[in-house]
Symmetry: C2
Subunit: 129 residues, 2 copies
């Protein structure tokens, strides 16, 4: 298992996702303060995927440098607020989810299937007859 590759790819996904959240935050802000600009940014974001935040910012640079600056500031701020909490949150979310599936698997393994139970019961009744 190549942990280094996984770490690098995961960090990239995380950076893209925080950039998406920054754009979403700015869209919320603009829709209150400057609806025309909000509409413009919404349309731009439909044409340029935020799955690749670097390509998105590169394209936005050609059109609105002020918005690029704003996105950078907001994503930096978001990163500062959430990054340090993520490892613990993901760990506990994963533990909870794994526990749920492990319990389900254990339940099904220890449960005698209904059909077998019936057979067993009829066997027992035969035995006592």
């Amino acid at each position: 298992m190549n942990s280094k590759r996984v770490a690098q790819e995961t960090a990239k996904v995380l950076q893209d996702y925080l950039t998406y959240q920054a754009v979403r935050t700015i869209l919320d802000q603009l829709s209150e303060t400057n609806p025309t600009q909000a509409l413009w940014l919404r349309q731009f974001s439909q044409q340029h995927s935020l799955q690749n935040s670097e390509a998105y910012l590169e394209a936005l640079m050609a059109e609105r440098k002020d918005l690029v600056m704003r996105i950078m500031t907001v994503r930096e701020d978001l990163a500062e607020r959430v990054l340090d909490f993520l490892p613990e949150m993901v760990r506990s979310g994963m533990e909870e989810s794994n526990l749920y599936y492990r319990c389900q698997i254990l339940e099904r393994l220890t449960q005698t299937p209904p059909e077998d139970q019936e057979n067993q019961e009829s066997d027992d009744s035969n035995a006592t007859e």
Copy 2:
């Protein structure tokens, strides 16, 4: 800005993404040890999106509990190996990216546009005439 909501949504994305990486790792392993099973899991993963890892595992539970167990073990292991490095990696990736765009913006701001330069030069030459 609702940092709590952003943190929760980001943790969910991260958990989904590590589950995807776990499936990918298992596919690599199986394609060497058990190609038939690798093919089956590949087809299953095409039919069930890993964008929502919980729905994926829920569906897999009905078909192959052993693979659910294996995915849980691998994603836990991956989480243990990479989670603690992510905050620093994302922070430095974002800093690097932000620096790149800030430099570009600064360069363009301080650069006199070529047209203006030409005008200036012709103005200068007029002045010396």
